[in-house]
Subunit: 206 residues, 3 copies
């Protein structure tokens, strides 16, 4: 199940990368690269951070075709996608959760300590979006918007807690998805967000 | 021959990095760092992506001196270089092709599959320019301008095809250069570019 | 001693990262991430560059808590910190020097050549600040301001020279700190800076 969700997730992430590239008037190649990095950049940064070579996607060339293909197909259908906005938010949320769980599992298998496992999960979840925004020259959205990275953190902690309690992996994954999706979709629906830190030196703030 | 072209190429790339740093009013140190990363950043990202440690330039300290020296010498001669614009476009094109072929060969020797080999070639070719633009806080030019990254892609594919057909390496390199240079210089001359994807949410597009 | 200075330094760097995130109105999570990367990003880039896996901080989870904690505590006390500006410049300078010496020593132990050792020292010293600025979407300050990266370069060279001359490590570290702090604080006090390269194509420059 995690694999199916993962494939859907990298497709959705690639499309979000393509749209961001389109906002910067990039060409076919730029769209492909940003789509690829948005989808697979989180796992790449995680693998480098964990010293986990060869990097996962280099062993699965089909992921390269899938993400670049998804990026390119976004160009003619961008207008239609606009109407499927809600579906994309759902797929994106599912992707965030799948990426987080996969990231935790990779670090666990390599024997890293719990704090590093959590960071590997979050890194897999959010770094694709950060790379997308850095390449498109804007402040990373995931660090500013309604609950997003926090959902990744919570899913990582929940997944590790259930694992520690001896819950079977399949049930664990289902529970992590249920809680993560509920939280993320609620955050979108009601605009939940973390407190924002606004610091303007020279003026009053707090 | 590839080595000579490579040395000329990293010099030219370092100079292009120095000019970009100058546009941001960086100091001597910033110019050196941006020059270094523009010239050797593509190979660095490739080596990290392939898990190819130690990273190439750490075994060739002379490359460090050459690129930083080229960056610093750009400062007094920037005015003159303006007149040599065409020469620089030629050197830059040669560098793009040399970087691409070298990147493919590194990945081939490590036993990666063809799609990864192609990506290693392109990464070596274009990531120096991407790092330059990210450090100088602008949207990467190589993802927007006339055929550039596409030339890298085509050279990588051609090089691998000729290799697959059993063409001798020297002739292969010459052919790759001939086709790559012809394509890149034609693109500059006649302004060839890939279709651009312009996406402005909320407005009509397509 | 180096370890104590290091802990103070990553705390100070984390706080500087949090302030930068606050200027971009990031949320709690963004503040934590930028604080973490500002403090530990330099060492991370160094370890990746040297192929030194596992990356240092993954073996010291307490560093994760310390830097994220320092980032979060910055939010309520930012107003007070404004008055402690000078103390922070001092801690930041001490951190720059400690990071540089540690970076050199890591590369030395791995058997890299002197130019790479120097680059490892500088990378550890300044890359946290560069990552902070790239994430906050601004041109890296360390590449533009009064003597900063140059202090890192000088400390690296001095440290290696004293080591080459057979000076005992403790005295070497003290001397490196004395010279580095004197230079950095003088540069701040009297506004010393490196020559700036301003290049504006199409206009006169020099």
């Amino acid at each position: 199940m995690l694999v199916s969700v993962y494939l859907i997730a990298i497709t959705a992430e690639a499309m979000s990368g393509a749209l961001a590239a389109g906002r910067r008037n990039m060409d076919l190649f730029g769209v492909s690269l940003v789509a690829f990095l948005t989808a697979l950049g989180g796992g790449t940064v995680r693998d480098i951070m964990l010293g986990n070579f060869p990097i996962s996607w280099t062993q699965h060339p089909s992921y390269i075709y899938l993400t670049i293909g998804a990026g390119l197909i976004t160009m003619p259908i961008a207008r239609v996608m606009h109407r499927l906005h809600r579906l994309f938010l759902l797929l994106d949320a599912a992707g965030l959760i799948a990426f987080t769980i996969i990231g935790c599992n990779v670090a666990l298998e390599l024997g890293y300590s719990i704090p590093v496992v959590v960071m590997a999960g979050i890194t897999t979840g959010i770094f694709g979006g950060i790379l997308r925004d850095v390449l498109c020259n804007r402040t990373p959205q995931v660090l500013r918007h309604e609950l997003y990275a926090s959902v990744s953190l919570l899913v990582a902690l929940l997944h590790l807690l259930l694992r520690h309690l001896g819950v079977e992996e399949d049930i664990n994954i289902l529970a992590s998805f249920a809680v993560g999706l509920a939280l993320r979709l609620s955050a979108i629906r009601w605009g939940w967000s973390l407190p924002v830190f606004s610091y303007a030196p020279g003026r009053w703030h707090g």
